[in-house]
C-alpha cells in the first residue's frame, strides 16, 4: 500500500524473511518434546529440559520406549489411536509420569506427525486433571453466536470475537488483526485492560509478521508463547537420527518463536502471547492476537476451545462479509448485463459502453473511463488527456501481460501519472487485445494512516560482538502518515465485474468479425448467383427467342408468295419484337457485366479507348456525317474495355440524338485536384433539365422507338461503369442547344479509393488486432 523505505539494506531483510523458524531445533522450556521411532515408540530425540521436568537426564531417556517412561496401560490406549491413524482421537491425552516414589506429574500429551512423517509427542504440564467437556465448548460457542446474530456489521462482529476470547482466556489484551492485500495489517477490534494504550485502528507493516511467520500461521492455527523471556531449550541430539536432519517443527506446539519475534514482543511489553489464525479461502485472512504483560499459560483444551470459537465465529463472519458484498455485486451484475445489451444493439460496441445509462463508470464506481480501440480513445467522465492516455496505453502494452491490471497508486508504478493524479491515481485496466484497452480511473484521495510505530523504522541494525544483527523496532508509538497519490482501492467485486465485461467485449468483437465474414460470404454467393443468371440470360433466354425469329423468317421466306399483305406486316412486327427483345437481353447482360469485369484495372490510355469506340461506330459516323474532335486525353487507372464502352455509348448517343445539322462532337479532359473530368459535347437536340437524373436510370427513355431506337440501357450502363471507377457522371444541356456529358475518373483510379473504403469497412478488424 504505502512504500516503506526501510533504513536497512534489503539483503538483511531478505535474510530475515528466510529465517528458517521451523528447523531452529529449539522448543519452549515449559514442555517436553519426544521424536519417536515406530512401532515401538522408541525415543530418538528429546528436548534437553527433561531433568527440570522429570528429574531424568536426556541421555538417560534416549533409546527408551514410551512404556518405560509412562505406565504401559496408558500407552496401550495411545498405541491404538496411533494405529487408527487419526491422532485427533488421542489429542490430548492425560499422561502421568512418576518422578520420585509416589510423586506423579500429569501432562497433556499431544501427538502429531511432521512433514517428514515422524511421530512427535509433546508434553505440557496439565493444570486440571480433567478434560474440558464438550458441553463447555458448546455453551461458549452458542453464547457467542447468539450475540453475533444481533450484530449488523463486520466491526461489531470482530469486537464480539475479541471480547469472547478475552473472557475465556483472561489475556490483558486481545486484538483482531486483518491482513490487507499487501500483507500489512490493521487492528480492527480490540479488548484490553483499561490501563493499556489502545492499538485499535493502527496499521502494522508487513515486516512485523514476515512471510515465513505467515506460512507457519497458515499451517498451525494456534500458537502459544507462555513466557517470551525464557531461554528456549535445544533438542538432543540436534539432528534426528532417522532423517539425519534437524527436526521439522512446523506443526509443533512447543516450537520456540524466532528470536526476532520474541524481541518484538519484549519491545512491545508483552510477556506472553497466544495467536489464533483466521483462514478464509485457504488464505491467512487475519489473526486473533492475545497479549499478556506477565507470563501466562493457557491449557491445551482452552487453546483448542479458542481455536474452535475462532473458527465457528469466523465462518459466520465470512458469510456475513459476503452478504455485505452481495447487494453491490447484484447491482454490478445488473449494470454489466445492461452494458452487454447496449453493446450488442450498437453497430460499434464502444457506443454501447459510453453512450447510455448506466455506463462504464457505473460498473466499477469510477470517475472516469476510456475505451482505447484502434488507435482512438473514447472517454467518459474525468480522464487524463488523449496524449497522456496514449502514453499510458503504451506503458500498459509494455508492462502488463495479465488479463486485468489494477492499482490504487498508479504514480508509484508509472511516474508520469503523477501529473494527472487528480483524475487517475487509481487505474483498473482490461486489455481486449494487444493494443486495445478499457480503462477506469479514480482520483487521488489523501488519507491518513495510523501506524503502530514508524514503519520506516520497523527494524534496526545492532552491532553485537562485531556482527551486524537485525532487531525489531523499539517504539510502537502512534506514527501518523499522510498518504498521497492514492485512490480508493478497487473492490474485488468491481475487479470481477471488469473481468466479466472483458469476456463480453471479446465475445462481441469476435461475433461482429464473424458477422462481417458471413456478410462477405453471402455477397460472394449472391455474386456467383448473379453470374449464373447472366449466363442463363445469354443462353437459355436467347435460345427460344432465336427459335421464334428463325422460324418466322423461314415462314416468310418459304411462303412469301402465298401470304397477303396483312400477314407480311404481322410477321414484320413479330420479327421486330423478337429483335428488340434480343437487344434488351444483350444490354441487360452488358449492364450486369460491368461490375464483374471491374477487376482489370490498369493504366489505360483514354485516347486508345476513344479511338476503339470511334472505330466501332464508324458505320454510323459515316452515315450521319459526324465530325468528331478531341483534346489530348490522359492515361488513367481504368478498365480499358469499360472505358471504351463508355465513350462508345456517349458518342453513339451524340450521333443518335442529332439535330438537323450534321453532328459535331468534342471530347475533352480536364484535371482537377483528385480526378480527371472527361466531357463529350454535342450539338444535338439537347435534354430538358428536368430529365437530367432520369436519363441515367435503367430502361428510362424520353422518346418512342419510332423516333429513336434503343432500350433505355445505354446511359444506365455508362453510369454503372463510372461508378465502378468510383467516379461521377452528369449532364449539362438545354433543349435544342446540344448536350455535354461529363464523367470523372479519380486519379490513382478506383484502387486507391477502394483501399480507403476497405480501411473504413475493416475498422473493427484493425482495432481488434
Amino acid at each position: 500500500m504505502v512504500e516503506i523505505h526501510l533504513s536497512v539494506p534489503d539483503i538483511n531483510l531478505n535474510r530475515l524473511e528466510q529465517e528458517p523458524i521451523h528447523t531452529s531445533g529449539k522448543v519452549q522450556p515449559h514442555g517436553v518434546i519426544f521424536a519417536l521411532e515406530e512401532p515401538d515408540l522408541k525415543i530418538v530425540q528429546v528436548s534437553t529440559n527433561t531433568f527440570n521436568i522429570f528429574g531424568v537426564y536426556p541421555q538417560d531417556i534416549l533409546g527408551k520406549t514410551l512404556e518405560e517412561i509412562f505406565d504401559p496401560f496408558q500407552i496401550e490406549a495411545i498405541k491404538q489411536g496411533i494405529a487408527s491413524d487419526n491422532l485427533d482421537f488421542i489429542n490430548s491425552s492425560k499422561l502421568w509420569a512418576r518422578i520420585k516414589g509416589d510423586d506423579y506429574v500429569v501432562f497433556d500429551g499431544v501427538f502429531h506427525r511432521n512433514a517428514d512423517g515422524l511421530l512427535i509427542l509433546e508434553l505440557e504440564p496439565a493444570f486440571s486433571q480433567e478434560n474440558i467437556p464438550f458441553l463447555s465448548f458448546y455453551h461458549l460457542a452458542r453464547t457467542s453466536i447468539n450475540q453475533l446474530e444481533k450484530t449488523a456489521n463486520l466491526r461489531d462482529f470482530c469486537q464480539i470475537i475479541v471480547k469472547e476470547v478475552r473472557k475465556l482466556t483472561g489475556f490483558d489484551r486481545v486484538m483482531l488483526y486483518k491482513f490487507d492485500e499487501e500483507n500489512h495489517g490493521d487492528v480492527i477490534a480490540e479488548e484490553k485492560l483499561e490501563s493499556m494504550e489502545s492499538y485499535l485502528g493502527l496499521h502494522y507493516p508487513e515486516s512485523d509478521i514476515p512471510a515465513p511467520a505467515r506460512r507457519l500461521f497458515s499451517a498451525n492455527y494456534i500458537r502459544l508463547i507462555p513466557d517470551a523471556k525464557v531461554k528456549p531449550v535445544q533438542l538432543f541430539p540436534i539432528e534426528n537420527p532417522i532423517t539425519q536432519q534437524p527436526l521439522d517443527l512446523t506443526l509443533s506446539i512447543l516450537r520456540s518463536a524466532s528470536p526476532c519475534h520474541l524481541e518484538y514482543l519484549h519491545n512491545m511489553g508483552v510477556a506472553s502471547s497466544l495467536t489464533i489464525s483466521l483462514i478464509k479461502d485457504d488464505q491467512l485472512w487475519g489473526l486473533i492476537a492475545c497479549h499478556h504483560q506477565t507470563p501466562k499459560y493457557v491449557s491445551y483444551e482452552l487453546r483448542k476451545a479458542c481455536e474452535f470459537l475462532g473458527r465457528v465465529i469466523f465462518s459466520e463472519l465470512s458469510a456475513r462479509e459476503e452478504t455485505e458484498d452481495y447487494d453491490y455485486r447484484m447491482k454490478l451484475t445488473y449494470i454489466q448485463s445492461m452494458l452487454v445489451d447496449y453493446m450488442s444493439s450498437e453497430e460499434n460496441f464502444v457506443n454501447g459502453l459510453v453512450g447510455r445509462e448506466p455506463n462504464l463508470l457505473d460498473l466499477t464506481n469510477s470517475q472516469g473511463a476510456a475505451v482505447c480501440f484502434g488507435g482512438n480513445c473514447t472517454v467518459i467522465g474525468k480522464t487524463p488527456t488523449e496524449e497522456d492516455l496514449n502514453y499510458l496505453v503504451q506503458w500498459l502494452q509494455n508492462n502488463i501481460n495479465e488479463e486485468i491490471f489494477y492499482t490504487d497508486s498508479l504514480p508509484r508504478l508509472y511516474s508520469d501519472a503523477e501529473k494527472f493524479k487528480e483524475v487517475a491515481s487509481g487505474l483498473l485496466a482490461i486489455p481486449i487485445s494487444k493494443r486495445n484497452y478499457v480503462l477506469w480511473f479514480r482520483p487521488e484521495v489523501i488519507q491518513t494512516v495510523n501506524w503502530g510505530g514508524d514503519p520506516n523504522k520497523a527494524y534496526e541494525t545492532t552491532h553485537a560482538e562485531g556482527n551486524v544483527r537485525l532487531s525489531p523496532r523499539k517504539s510502537f508509538e502512534l506514527w501518523k502518515e499522510t498518504v498521497r497519490l492514492k485512490s480508493l482501492p478497487w473492490k474485488q467485486v468491481e475487479i470481477k465485474a471488469a473481468l466479466e465485461l472483458r469476456k463480453a467485449i471479446i465475445n462481441i468483437v469476435l461475433r461482429q468479425a464473424d458477422e462481417l465474414a458471413q456478410l462477405a460470404q453471402d455477397l460472394e454467393r449472391s455474386n456467383a448467383e448473379l453470374k449464373k443468371f447472366a449466363y442463363v440470360a445469354s443462353h437459355d433466354l436467347q435460345e427460344p427467342l432465336n427459335q421464334v425469329a428463325n422460324y418466322v423468317q423461314l415462314l416468310e421466306m418459304r411462303y412469301r408468295d402465298r401470304l397477303d399483305e396483312d400477314a407480311q406486316e404481322f410477321i414484320g412486327y413479330t420479327v421486330e419484337g423478337v429483335s428488340l427483345m434480343q437487344t434488351l437481353i444483350d444490354d441487360v447482360l452488358a449492364y450486369s457485366k460491368v461490375d464483374m469485369q471491374g477487376a482489370e484495372f490498369a493504366f489505360t490510355d483514354a485516347e486508345t479507348a476513344l479511338e476503339k469506340a470511334i472505330a466501332n461506330l464508324r458505320g454510323r459516323i459515316a452515315e450521319s456525317g459526324a465530325r468528331i474532335t478531341r483534346d489530348r486525353l490522359p492515361t488513367v487507372m481504368a478498365d480499358g474495355t469499360q472505358l471504351m464502352q463508355l465513350f462508345q455509348n456517349l458518342v453513339g448517343n451524340a450521333i443518335k440524338f442529332r439535330s438537323e445539322n450534321p453532328p459535331e462532337i468534342q471530347i475533352s479532359a480536364q484535371r482537377t485536384e483528385d480526378a480527371w473530368v472527361f466531357s463529350v459535347k454535342d450539338n444535338g437536340i439537347g435534354i430538358d433539365p428536368q430529365f437530367f437524373e432520369r436519363i441515367f436510370v435503367i430502361f428510362q427513355r424520353l422518346h418512342t422507338r419510332d423516333e429513336y431506337s434503343g432500350t433505355g440501357m445505354g446511359l444506365a450502363i455508362c453510369k454503372k461503369i463510372v461508378e465502378c471507377h468510383r467516379g461521377r457522371i452528369w449532364v449539362e444541356s438545354e433543349l435544342g442547344k446540344g448536350a455535354t456529358f461529363y464523367f470523372t475518373v479519380p486519379v490513382g483510379g478506383r484502387d486507391g479509393d477502394r483501399r480507403n473504403t476497405r480501411k473504413a469497412q475493416n475498422y473493427l478488424f484493425s482495432r481488434g488486432q
Binding site: Q542, Q547, N550, Q553, L554
Partner: protein
C-alpha cells in the same frame, strides 16, 4: 474436293443437338447444299458418345466427317463430349464445330482449350444462319484436307 469426288461417298455430318427446332433448321440449311451428304442426329450427350464409339445400337455407325456440337445438352453436356473426343486417339482427328447460342467467354476459352476446331454462335437471323451453314460446309467438307480414315 478432289478426295471427296474420288471417294464418291456422301459425307456424314454428325449433329449433336437437343432442340428439335434447331435440328430442323440446320437440316433445312443443309438442304440447300448441292453436295451429297448424310446427316445423323443424336439429342443427348450419352447417345453422342455411344454413336462415336459404336456402342450398342450404334455398332455399325458410320464414322462422321464433321461433328456439329451444341454445348448445352441433357445428361452429358457438349463441353464433356468435346473433351472426350479430343482426348480419344481414334476420334480426335474428326473436326468438331461447336455451334451454340452461348456467347459466354468462358465457353469460348474452354472450347478452344479443349482443341475445338472452331466455335460458331448460332445466328439470330435466318439468312445469316444459312450463310454460316454454307460456310461450314464449304470449308470443312470441301476445302480442308483431312486424313482419310
Amino acid at each position: 474436293m478432289a478426295i471427296a469426288e474420288i471417294q464418291g461417298r456422301p459425307k456424314t455430318i454428325f449433329l449433336v443437338e437437343d432442340n428439335k427446332a434447331d435440328i430442323r433448321l440446320i437440316e433445312e440449311a443443309f438442304k440447300n447444299s448441292a453436295m451429297p451428304h448424310r446427316m445423323v442426329t443424336v439429342r443427348t450427350g450419352t447417345d453422342a458418345m455411344a454413336y462415336l464409339r459404336r456402342e450398342g445400337e450404334y455398332a455399325n455407325a458410320q464414322r462422321p466427317d464433321l461433328i456439329l456440337l451444341d454445348l448445352n445438352l441433357p445428361r452429358k453436356d457438349g463441353r464433356e463430349i468435346l473433351a472426350e473426343i479430343k482426348s480419344d486417339p481414334n476420334l480426335r482427328r474428326i473436326p468438331v464445330v461447336v455451334l451454340t447460342t452461348s456467347r459466354n467467354e468462358d465457353d469460348i476459352f474452354h472450347s478452344y482449350d479443349s482443341n475445338v476446331n472452331c466455335y460458331i454462335t448460332k445466328s439470330r437471323n435466318l439468312e445469316e444462319l444459312f450463310k454460316i451453314v454454307k460456310g461450314i460446309e464449304e470449308f470443312w467438307l470441301q476445302t480442308v484436307i483431312l486424313p482419310s480414315e
